[in-house]
Amino acid sequence: MGRVGALAPRLEWEEASTVRRIARENSAGRQAKRMQAISVLLEATEFSLMNVLAGAGSLRLVPVVDSAAPQMSPLTQMCLGGHAQAFAKAAMASAVPAIWHEGDARPETCWARRIAPPAPRSSGIVFPLPTGHGGGSIAIFSAPRRLDDETLCQAHLECFGLLKPAGNAKPAGSGSLPALSKRELECLKLTADGLTSEEIATRLGLSVHTANQYLANTTQKLNAVNRMHAVAKALRAGLFD
């Protein structure tokens, strides 16, 4: 990985993006290994990690890690299929894991809730990993054979460990939002708390022009149409609370 420092030559744009891509792939590799380990714990066959991007009223699933990578496993295809919206909604509806299976066999764990199968004659479990408000990620495993309370809890905790720590909690490689500077985030937070530009400027000891500039930057970085949209996007993505 390129080292940034006074002595290292400045990377050309192309080299820099290659470095970023390799970094993403490497961390995707680490995530895949960890998912494999969780899969073994649950005695499941396939696994898939997806980001859930929340818009207003709709959810979008973006695959990140797949047990059949670089192909798309049948599990991922099933979840992205015709009932993707309903599946995503059901998965994120609660913080508790959701299972689906054929027939009425009562699972060992009393904590998981039951949801409609995304495809017939299949079984699986999905662990919701909420990060932003309404959005986050889901970790899906097909045909788990070991589902007692302890294992469930353990697996769920491990799944949370797949996400990048603190700050931006999205799994690497999600192609997600660029980082906002500390000042930009502060201005956004204060806007969400109901302050006007003048009040933000006074609070942070800036001029009104500067405060507006920070907010304009966030709007642009988050690909939003105005600052309200920027606040909403940042909240939903979990950039701040």
């Binding site: 818009g55 609660s94 039951r114 309404g134 949370f160 708390d193 949209h229």
Partner: protein, 242 residues
């Protein structure tokens, strides 16, 4: 396996409860919740537990204690508002993040002196705090122990996961709905605002006049105790209303 999840030391925490065979989706009544939290506390070496529900946008009542085994005197001395403050502070972790136990002295900057003194006097020296939110319900869970440095991160992280499961399944009568929930139209207007639409654009989308949209937004602002539409929108998103 990652040590953040790890094992919970010598004691294992039993989180089973009697499954109500007649219902597909079991709920926990108050007694069962109390029993469960007692077992979880004991399992991690905590002496006390407290579960608080934080309610959005209500003028007089900002939080409500769901279950706890604290002595009443301490509760009164510390006060619900200060407890809510702990839950919303940086000492509190979110779901899935590793637990961050802390000691009473760390609260010195956050709470008034008499509250901290009351905690110390009554044997609340070591703490672990977690914030949980599912949809519109927002909870804080505080474990405390009479001895410092007894709450370990790994054990508490697991316990916090179990608390999350337990709270997701509480009976409807234990949970308080937020007062004056938004009407469908008010919700729609706020949703469009959160998509970056102006009042006029929302009016076109909804097929009503701009005045009507403004009036819906004004009502939403009042109901959510906000100062302007940005704050109303943020409050609505934070509380799972849109």
């Amino acid at each position: 396996m990652d040590s953040a999840a790890g094992n919970c030391g010598q004691m294992s925490i039993d989180i089973s409860f009697t499954l109500d065979q007649s219902s597909a989706e079991p709920v926990l009544e108050r007694e069962q919740l109390v029993d469960l939290f007692s077992r979880i506390s004991t399992g991690i070496g905590a002496d006390y537990y407290l579960v608080i529900q934080c309610l959005p946008g209500r003028a007089n009542e900002t939080s409500r204690i769901l279950v706890c085994n604290w002595v009443f005197d301490v509760l009164e001395s510390v006060g619900r508002d200060n407890l809510a403050r702990i839950v919303q502070s940086q000492f509190s972790t979110r779901l899935g993040a590793p637990a961050k136990p802390f000691v009473c002295e760390d609260l010195a900057g956050l709470l008034p002196e008499r509250a901290v003194a009351a905690l110390v006097r009554n044997g609340h020296l070591d703490f672990a705090c977690q914030q949980l939110q599912f949809g519109q319900a927002r909870y804080g869970v505080i474990f405390s122990s009479a001895e410092k440095e007894t709450l370990g991160s790994a054990a508490v992280s697991r316990a916090q996961m179990m608390c999350c499961y337990a709270l997701s399944r509480i009976a409807p009568d234990l949970y308080v709905e937020c007062a004056d929930p938004l009407s469908e139209r008010e919700r729609e207007c706020l949703r469009w605002v959160s998509e970056g639409k102006t009042t006029d654009e929302a009016a076109v989308i909804l097929g009503v006049s701009s005045n009507t949209v403004n009036s819906y937004i004004t009502h939403a602002i009042q109901k959510l105790s906000a100062t302007n539409r940005a704050m109303a929108m943020a409050t609505a998103i934070r509380n799972g209303l849109i």
